[in-house]
Symmetry: C2
Subunit: 418 residues, 2 copies
């Protein structure tokens, strides 16, 4: 058996050294790297597609479904997408070195808070190779060295992409170990990396819930994560009902397989009889199966019964649980008890209700009169996103460049003593 602890320690050391150099890299250097990487992705398509072909060939052996194989496939168009994304990240402002707070003390000390990189990021992800380039770009642009650990299904594609990224790092005077790709697909290697606290500053897992649970349980360093997205839409008694219908249909149906899609509809009892029949028709027309509480079943008579378990389920498909509540407080209590602290929407024209809902839902995002589907780094204006956090520590919600930074105090004096 390979000694993965030794292996992980060496990789982490190289990353740590690279991160010390990256701290001093200018925005120009990092952006030149991003643009050169984009150029290489565009010009070395043959190489990338050949590597990807090996993964596609091996895919049935890994038990990948045809949908999964399709997500794995690199085409000219998808490579162009990767290149464009790299260039978009080059256009974002550099977060490092920003003085985002300062304060002159009575003794003349100028106390500043300066944004600095976190250091070393361990990024674990599944299949899609575009994530390789994207994650590397976000980490390095925010001054962090990254250790990438992709799925075994995409190993050849990832290695080929990684080669180009490193080539561009060297050409631009950046440390080649700023981006490392773990070259073993042994699961035990992940465990060894998760023990490297002190060398790795944060781990970001992106994939299925079981992967994320394993990482959260084993990691000795902080983890940026969300397990699932049990998102709610609450239709208040003071809702514009046409708006409410359009928001629940969009939140549920626009892309049901993602974490910010709605899984539960909460409806105030005062408008339930008026709202639910039309909403049910609209949802069913969009292919949604409804599962309701007993009061919902009284109104939508052919609706299946929702179990306790339904309200704790992230369906990720066209199923929606429905519950009637008697107050905004009851809606909040349901969200905090059954939800996953991800995204909740309230539809209401009553500012007391929206204010209360926004203050009391213990979730990363509360949307007032807007679809849950907007919880996303791009939609929020972060520019790029490496993941979404449902934790409250460090970063919450979509995580972009700035969420991969820390700060230090730099204090300017002229000989002050205490």
């Amino acid at each position: 058996m390979t000694d993965f602890n030794q292996y992980a320690s060496e990789w982490a050391d190289r990353a740590r050294h690279a991160s010390r150099e990256l701290v001093l890299a200018s925005g120009n250097q990092k952006n030149a790297w991003l643009r050169r990487s984009a150029q290489l992705v565009r010009t070395r398509t043959a190489e990338l597609i050949a590597a990807n072909a090996k993964d596609i060939e091996a895919a049935p052996g890994f038990g990948l479904t045809s949908a999964m194989v399709d997500r794995l496939r690199l085409t000219d168009e998808r490579l162009e997408g990767i290149a464009t994304a790299l260039e978009a990240i080059a256009l974002l402002p550099d977060p490092i070195g920003e003085i985002f707070e300062s304060n002159v003390r009575p003794n003349g000390l100028l106390v500043t808070r300066v944004r600095v990189p976190l250091g070393v990021v361990f990024f674990i992800f599944e299949s899609r190779p575009n994530v390789t380039a994207d994650a590397a770009a976000i980490c390095v642009k925010s001054g962090n060295a990254v250790i990438l650990r992709g799925g075994k299904e995409a190993l050849h594609s990832n290695l080929a992409l990684h080669r180009l990224l490193v080539e561009a790092l060297k050409e631009n005077g950046l440390p080649e170990h700023a981006v490392q790709l773990v070259d073993t697909t042994d699961r035990d290697a992940v465990g060894a990396f998760l023990k490297q606290s002190g060398k790795i500053d944060v781990t970001i897992p992106r994939g299925g819930k079981s992967l994320i649970e394993r990482v959260a349980a084993e990691a000795s360093m902080p983890v940026i994560k969300h397990f699932d997205g049990i998102c709610h839409v609450y239709v208040d008694k003071a809702a514009d009902l046409a708006m409410a219908r359009s928001i629940i249909v969009n939140s549920k149906c626009q892309r049901p397989g993602v974490c910010n899609a709605a899984e539960t509809l909460l409806v105030h009892s005062a408008i339930a009889a008026e709202f639910l029949p039309g909403a049910a028709t609209a949802l069913r027309d969009a292919g949604v199966e409804l599962r309701g509480c007993p009061r919902t079943q009284e109104i939508v008579t052919d609706c299946a019964a929702a179990t306790e378990e339904d309200f704790r389920t992230e369906y990720l498909e066209l199923i929606l649980s429905v519950k009637i509540v008697d107050s905004v407080e009851e809606a909040i209590a349901h969200v905090n008890e059954y939800g996953s602290h991800h995204t909740e929407s309230i539809v209401s024209q009553d500012i007391s209700a929206t204010t209360r809902f926004a203050a009391s839902c213990d979730s990363a995002a509360v949307h007032i009169n807007a679809s849950t589907r907007f919880n996303d780094g791009g939609e929020y204006g972060l520019g790029a996103e490496i993941g979404i956090s449902t934790d409250k520590f460090h970063a919450r919600g979509p995580c972009g460049l700035r969420e991969l930074t820390s700060y230090k105090y730099v204090v300017h004096g002229s000989g002050q003593i205490k």
Copy 2:
């Protein structure tokens, strides 16, 4: 054996419920609680001093030294200090509800980041009872419920203070479980609380290194901590040498037993022969024992030899290790290798050197031409401090009210769908 898991789970549930109410508390309510608590501390001195007397009486049985007994003792003057500190926290701005960032998207969505409490804080501390009131005040003012776990030596004093704080909570319509004091001093109880992730949002240990190491190893939730403060003063070749002497003497001697006192002096070789003899005299006049590298010993001929271990030691007393380096880069490398990421000072008139030192020292605070002793919430203008973090995740450096908060996205729409 008591089932501490059940016990801790119930305490954490009560705290979580209290925190849900605290989110809605106004600044006025919280400040009224602080002022009323101060008043109770001032008027119920007899009760507090009687409780404290029980602790003082029991102290020898716990093996407390006379210095420790002195720190434990409550006097009228110290109670006045506690009351004054509570009132000072009432005067600080309320961090909760602040919109600290906003952004209107092209589709009209107003995306805001709103400061919210972390939720539930588990605060573990040793002897001094004034910390009880201080920690409760900082946590509740920042909207968090707190579970306090003090040392067994101060149990009666802490219980008496806690009674007053709860009395004032009830009088002001705040949840009584906003401040809970663990009423068992069994060490196993701490372990049970440290397993309550999901209910407790952050643990803050304050005390000796072994306590903090135990907490960091066992905690299932994030921990705000620093293990030790191996702080450096680097005297550059471009230093004002009189300023350098005053800064190293102050950094080492002003209060040697605290974490932001200097433990190592780094001196550039170009000015070592000029600087060290006078600095050594000044330090020795202040009672400091010097331990130097071989090159230091050539200049300060009667200086003891510093071992490798010396440079990794937080003395917390009047001992200073000294090393001569040949460049600012070598000073930085020493700091990053031997330090504890706490506080470093550079003394130099050369802006290239100070900029490089500030950028590359991987520490919570870098002071330019100022004593290390200024790394403190009060000195930085945070107003109050619950601890210092040497981690890079969430909060770094002194932690005040704002460092006990998170944020949520609140997005204001008018029916937007994706």
